[in-house]
């Protein structure tokens, strides 16, 4: 068992007085039937990894090993890329686009049909609340396939006069925060555009991608069109540098994104990167404050803050600072942390021990540098990896907690007086993925939206996603867009 940190000792473990006590309402996990061990999904078949190496995928809620998962090496990745190339050259690239569309529609429908099963497995493997995997991850994943299915046979309307053609084999590497949803963001546009895929799921959350292989078989997708190779960063690196991969799509940390950009320098491979963020969520004094507080909470505590576009820097106009912070703390007291499979749970488990360490380390620097920490009373389960919703006030822009992506349920509150100051401070970061604005004044929304250097701006809302809406960053948050018409372009070649 892990040691209890000072931080946790200081926490109030008594029952939360302000919140109702709910009886637990656990979602049954019986719907998920896991194999003991999984191979790699290559050429439509399960194959054992060349090295024979397997490691358990562990549930963050209680550290229970769920299934043994294969670790691919260079040889396995090579076999998968060959399978993808073979499928591309012998059938998939010549298939009528309208037929491609129908495969994607099938996948969307099967995901809808099996959504409960996937949602439970997502929460088991990744630790996110079932309420989120059920109401956000799964509906959006299915919607992505449905949306891009419709584009498959309409590409010449999306890109008039450009004669769009598929790129070839796409190598895709995805993160652990929205495992199946990130898979669908990658796979759906790639297939709609006529490419084949080798996808590497995150090391700590491979199971829904492996279950997805079953969906592919159910949909009778031709073998080799989608190949799933599990493993750690080594498998991802092998995929990125494989000479027969035409296009790389990566979602993950800025650090790894830079490594990938360096690794493919000079090769002519196409690349899209969706990297980290440190989003500003800006509250003006005329904002509807109760609504804004809901937006702040959703912005940072959604998915335990494991969100690249999380609103992790809150900027509050000075005149409403006290009020906003008081409301925020009160609202934080009603957040229910606990079993991800409990339908009442708002904040689930931290995805991995490594991530928990990273959050703890950064939170400690926040205290050392002089910020004031607040955590509502909440009991952390004995087993598993947990971190309570946390807010820092008294934060200077130079503190690490205001500069670095924490990727956890930790909010830093800063203040401003004028819109100019808010823009200056909000843009004072190497990142530029997303931003939030809360004000009742329409012209101010538009001027702020224009001046914030971020790829997605939410005004009077936060953390909204839709397959029709392009998503991606400015600056060191990456380049290229996923979603919408713009999300097709990275998977196409054009005449020009």
């Amino acid at each position: 068992m892990r040691a209890v940190t000072d931080l946790e000792k200081r926490q109030d473990r008594s029952p939360v007085p302000s919140a109702f006590e709910y009886a637990s309402a656990p979602e049954s996990r019986d719907i998920v039937r896991l194999e003991e061990s999984y191979g790699l999904f290559v050429g439509g078949e399960w194959v054992e990894p060349h090295s024979g190496e397997h490691q358990a995928s562990v549930s963050p809620r209680d550290e229970e090993p769920l299934a043994a998962v294969a670790y691919a090496d260079a040889e396995d990745v090579d076999v998968a890329v060959r399978a993808a190339r073979d499928a591309y050259a012998n059938g998939w690239s010549e298939l009528a686009p309208s037929e491609r569309a129908k495969y994607l529609y099938r996948i969307a429908r099967i995901l809808q049909e099996r959504s409960r099963e996937f949602a439970v497995l997502e929460s088991l493997d990744g630790g996110k609340p079932i309420r989120e995997s059920r109401d956000v991850d799964l509906p959006l994943a299915a919607a992505h396939f449905f949306y891009y299915a419709g584009w498959a046979d309409k590409l010449e309307y999306a890109f008039p006069n450009r004669t769009p053609r598929p790129v070839g084999v796409a190598g895709q590497v995805i993160p652990w925060n929205f495992p199946l949803l990130m898979l669908s963001w990658k796979v759906a546009p790639a297939l709609a555009a006529g490419n084949t895929v080798v996808l590497k799921p995150a090391e700590t959350t491979p199971l829904t991608a492996l279950l997805f292989c079953d969906v592919l078989r159910q949909a009778e997708l031709p073998p080799g069109v989608v190949n799933i190779v599990t493993g750690d960063g080594r498998a991802g690196a092998e995929l990125v540098k494989h000479p027969d991969v035409d296009k790389i799509a990566f979602t993950g940390s800025t650090e790894v994104g830079k490594e990938i950009q360096r690794a493919i320098a000079g090769t002519g491979k196409r690349l899209t990167l969706e990297l980290g963020g440190k989003a500003a969520n800006i509250i003006f004094d005329d904002a509807p404050l109760d609504q804004a507080v809901e937006g702040i909470v959703n912005g940072i505590y959604f998915n335990q803050g494991h969100v690249c576009c999380a609103g992790s820097r809150l900027f509050v106009q000075e005149s409403v600072y006290e009020e906003v912070v008081a409301k925020l703390k009160r609202r934080m007291g009603t957040l229910r942390l606990g079993d991800p499979l409990d339908k009442n749970t708002d904040v689930g488990a931290i995805n991995s021990e490594q991530q928990l360490e990273r959050i703890r380390e950064l939170v400690e620097t926040g205290e050392e540098e002089g910020a004031e920490i607040y955590q509502p009373p909440c009991r952390l389960p004995e087993k598993g990896w947990w971190f309570p919703p946390t807010v820092f006030t008294n934060v200077a822009q130079s503190y690490r907690i205001a500069q670095e992506e924490i990727f956890g349920p930790v909010l830093s509150v800063l203040t401003f007086r004028t819109p100019d100051e808010a823009v200056e401070k909000a843009n004072n970061t190497p990142y530029g993925l997303s931003a939030g604005i809360w004000t009742e004044k329409g012209s101010r929304i538009l001027s702020m939206a224009q001046r914030l250097r971020a790829g997605v701006v939410w005004a009077n809302t936060y953390n909204r996603f839709d397959p029709a809406s392009p998503f991606g960053g400015y600056k060191e948050s990456g380049f290229g867009r996923e979603g919408g018409l713009h999300g097709l372009a990275p998977y196409l070649e054009f005449d020009e």
Partner: protein, 264 residues
């Protein structure tokens, strides 16, 4: 008595002025002495570009279009001079017409590249292109004028500021282009032109943390190294741009998506 011609000193174009290299160095090329820019000159050029960027990006697209058209007007008046420094009149005409073509794109890019997005919920959602910031351009050697204009015009039409490393072998057309830009109401610092050694300047350009994108069309065999350096701050990289296309302009634009709830 015959008149002694006034010869031109080929200098840098930096922040709207024509200074010599701070290093005082020159090199001989195309029968002239040309400024040999230093790494400090390049860093100064990036600062000038960053300083000029907000105002240029903040102009209306209609206004930027007129400024680009004005460049074509200024070049037309110097047609003979440009012809001497390039492959001849056809190259000059191509370069001039390219400015005219891109001038017309200024207030059309957002319509062609942007979108209104039909999301499944009560939200107004749209996507607009915005300039990425400072763009570094390594100009191709051939053709010396049309090659540079083909890379520069799409970079600045959308509101970016540019730092150009001119052709090392054929820099005179680039310096003369700078003179046309300076008289065409292109605000100082929006375009900065450096002449000198590619090997010395390009690594600084590619690794500079305040440059948002690089066009390596004119980079020689060290493209891989420059791309590696560009990853230091996740630069957008254009490897090989030829001809004219709004998608060339798109390569230097970011896409911003804005959501707002629809309600009462």
């Amino acid at each position: 008595m015959s008149r002694l011609p006034v010869t031109k000193t080929y200098k840098l174009y930096l922040g709207g002025a024509f200074p010599r290299s701070e290093s005082g160095r020159t090199y001989e090329v195309e029968g002239a002495n040309v400024a040999l820019a230093s790494r400090k000159d390049l860093r100064d050029a990036v600062r000038a570009a960053r300083g000029a960027f907000p105002k240029w990006a903040g102009l209306t697209a209609y206004n930027r279009g007129q400024v680009l058209y004005r460049v074509a007007e200024m070049m037309e008046g110097r047609r003979a001079q440009f012809a001497e420094l390039t492959g001849g009149e056809s190259e000059v005409d191509e370069a001039i017409d390219r400015w005219v073509w891109y001038a017309g794109w200024a207030d059309k890019l957002a319509q062609v590249l942007g979108s209104s997005n039909p999301v499944a919920g009560p939200y107004f959602n749209f996507t607009v292109p915005e300039p990425t910031g400072v763009v570094g351009i390594v100009a191709p050697d051939e053709p010396p004028l049309a090659g540079l204009v083909s890379r520069l015009a799409p970079a600045i039409v959308g509101g970016n500021a540019a730092v150009v490393v001119a052709s090392e072998r054929r820099p005179l057309a680039a310096v003369t282009l700078a003179e046309a830009l300076a008289t065409a109401d292109v605000p100082g610092g929006v375009v900065n032109v450096l002449t000198g050694r590619k090997r010395e300047l390009c690594t600084v350009l590619a690794s500079h943390m305040d440059v948002n994108a690089v066009d390596l069309t004119g980079a020689d065999d060290d493209v891989a190294e420059l791309e590696r350096l560009a990853a230091d701050n996740v630069k957008r990289v254009v490897r090989n741009g030829e001809g004219q296309s709004p998608w060339h302009a798109a390569a230097f634009l970011e896409l911003k998506t804005v959501w707002h709830p629809i309600g009462v």
